[in-house]
Amino acid sequence: MSSETLTRLADPPGTGQVRAARRGPSGHRGFPYLLVLPAVALLVLFVIAPGIYALILSFQTRHVSGGLLGTTSETVFAGVDNYRNALGDGTLWSSLLHMLLMAAITIPFTIGFALLFALCLDALRARLTRFARLSIFLPYAVPGVIATLLWGFLYLPATSPIGGNHINFFGQVAVFFSVGNVVLWGAVGFNMVVMFTALRALPRDIYDAAKIDGCTEWQIAVHVKIPLLRPAILMCSLFTVLAALQLYNEPNTLRPLANAISTTWVPLMKIYTDAFVNSDINLAAATSVLYAVAVLIISVIASRLVARRASGWSR
């Protein structure tokens, strides 16, 4: 597609580049490839090559021999052993469960709050919108690790100004909401801005028409704005789902503060622990491959869903 499209786009006369591209057939054909080169090079270097390396590692295992301390270690082909061990490991499944529970909390609340704030700011009667918008967006600019440390101090009984000595923020159930709160705090602002921008792009005369028909502000929000916002909401949902699958920073930073979060709490923490604490890079590679495949499938399904819903709306 790209080559033809580019030629067509380049057809209008005038620019020197076009003339340069026309000088020789090789230049003509090569130019589109040149344009995609940086993206492809980065993809190959930082996604495909490490991916292949992980795939190789996942079929190997370290085996020691040579005395008590096994000072001779060799890397041997392990077949699907690592995959079998990964899937047979109960901690992987409980980490997945934790991840799903977290997703069930963070996804609806992130989208819900972002939508609510965007609609509030877009309401005709809203005042101080610029300030409010910035305030809601600002947490997104705070690095996740720092935000989590700050929240950690707010949660811990000895340092909490928000009642940590009365409420156990690190209880067995509460910890999910405590982590979720940190995620939410950081993510709502970004999604709010996306939705707010989409709202601002809508033609204002629709509202006038609705008002003439006797709609209240609330009815405009529910019956006019939300349906029109659907593509933005779906796109934000997709981002949020992907972020939920990659949950790592918040629980990993909160972990040393209390007893509530294990070293294998979510899948990415388990992979890290296997690779760098338990020195089993091969098991970690196998788990990574499995997880990457699962995430890929979920992403494809989710983005298809988004595309279909979005186009369904435009028809």
Binding site: G70, N85, P256, A258
Partner: protein, 423 residues
């Protein structure tokens, strides 16, 4: 490494040569160490050894450094020298990270007693020069003890009853905290009780993390936790720092290195701490375990193992080097000669009221029990400690089960990696 060498050579040919007249110029060594102020000790060496220059950096501490060493070894990028805690050494030897330096340390090892040397000598080969030795001691707040009329406990039974008294008189103050994050103190207590988590005969391992002495320790602490007389938060956390600083914790069971740590953790408590021997399981006994302690090791990636070993020996047995370490890092030396240094007659800066601090440590040190050997996958055991005891504290399930989880995780990993484990 070779780049460094080249730099070293060109520097000498540039005109600074002459000392010793060696054609290759000074040897440059790299050292990884997380001790604050260690650079002052290294500076002493660099001043007196122009031919062997050591460049120290601090990329990470403890377990994180172990991960880094293993990862960097894969690319043969490890430094010449690195500090390694005793419990991590067998794993690093097994991973091929740490080099056998027996041939360079024949004189050095004479300055160590058998218990200390057993931490770095496996199957007749020496893999490091011990830096410090850290018997577990009981650190207590003299002000809290006197205001609530507590006696310094000499047995664990007394420790428990004083804990109950304290909790009754001051519900917001705890005797200590059961730390499920750092296994070092718990394994030290297990050692005191007589546990032997790893033993070896020939090339066969025996793993006994849920042995009777360990269960005894676990049950004891579970009772204290259930009675509510000890806190349950992890140590070295913001919560714990605050509790230590504000006097919500009356004791800390810790290694001989604690005085250097408390200053940073609880700066408001200077002069309020004292040290006593660890409480005993039965009156009249005199036993303790160890928490941490480390050795200076030479890596297999080093191009200059001989010079590196020479530095490691100097650092840990030379009187000037050890005096400087006691002053700057508050270590209790591992070397026998180091334990009689005049500098040990003065109290650590944070314990100004306790001039006999090192005397008490010196009395406890010879009675420190250790495991016969640390296992080759201690990181697995320790990660399992954190997860298992965290879960037990959260759900109130049995500490014995947590020990069994540790045992199972350790044995499974050792078998998978190819070690021979007898059941």
């Amino acid at each position: 490494m070779s780049a460094l060498l080249v730099a070293g050579c060109s520097g000498t040919s540039g005109g600074s040569g002459g000392s010793g007249g060696s054609a290759s110029g000074p040897v440059h060594l790299t050292l990884w160490d997380w001790d604050p102020n260690m650079n002052k000790v290294v500076a002493l060496w660099n001043k007196s050894h122009p031919d062997i220059q050591v460049n120290m950096s601090n990329p990470a501490g403890g377990d994180q450094l172990v991960s880094k060493l293993i990862t960097d070894h894969a690319a043969h990028n490890d430094p010449d020298l690195t500090k390694v805690e005793y419990q991590s050494l067998p794993a690093l030897v097994s991973g091929g990270v740490v080099a056998d330096i027996t041939q360079y340390t024949t004189d050095t090892v004479k300055d160590y007693d058998a218990t200390t040397l057993s931490q770095v000598k496996f199957q007749g080969k020496v893999y490091g020069v011990p830096q410090d030795f850290a018997p577990l001691m009981l650190y207590y707040r003299t002000d809290i003890f006197s205001s609530y009329g507590l006696a310094v406990p000499t047995t664990w039974a007394q420790y428990a009853s004083e804990a109950a008294t304290l909790h009754q008189k001051a519900p917001g103050v705890y005797m200590t905290n059961f730390d499920a994050a750092d296994p070092g103190w718990f394994s030290g207590l297990a050692q005191q009780a007589g546990a032997n988590w790893w033993t070896s005969s020939g090339n066969t391992w025996k793993v006994a993390i849920n042995d009777a002495p360990s269960k005894q320790v676990a049950d004891y602490w579970q009772q204290l936790v259930q009675a509510g007389s000890v806190a349950t938060g992890p140590s070295f956390s913001p919560q714990w720092n605050k509790q230590m600083n504000t006097g919500a914790l009356a004791t800390w069971i810790s290694g001989a290195w604690a005085p250097a740590q408390i200053g940073g953790i609880a700066p408001a408590t200077k002069g309020k701490w004292a040290v006593a021997p660890l409480p005993q399981w039965s009156a009249g006994q005199n036993s303790t375990g160890i928490w941490g302690g480390a050795a200076t090791t030479v890596t297999t990636d080093s191009q200059h193992p001989q010079q590196a070993a020479e530095f490691a020996s100097w650092l840990n047995t030379n009187a000037d080097a050890l005096t400087s370490q006691v002053n700057n890092i508050n270590i209790y030396p591992a070397a026998t000669s180091g334990r009689s240094l005049p500098v040990l007659a003065t109290a650590p800066p944070f314990f100004p009221n306790q001039a006999n601090f090192y005397d008490l440590v010196k009395q406890s040190a010879p009675h420190a029990r250790t495991f016969q050997i640390w296992g080759p996958d201690v990181t697995v055991t320790f990660a399992s400690y954190t997860d298992s005891f965290d879960a037990a504290l959260q759900s109130g399930s049995s500490f014995d089960n947590a020990l069994t989880s540790m045992q199972n995780a350790t044995v499974a990993d050792m078998k998978k990696t190819g070690f021979t484990v007898s059941s």
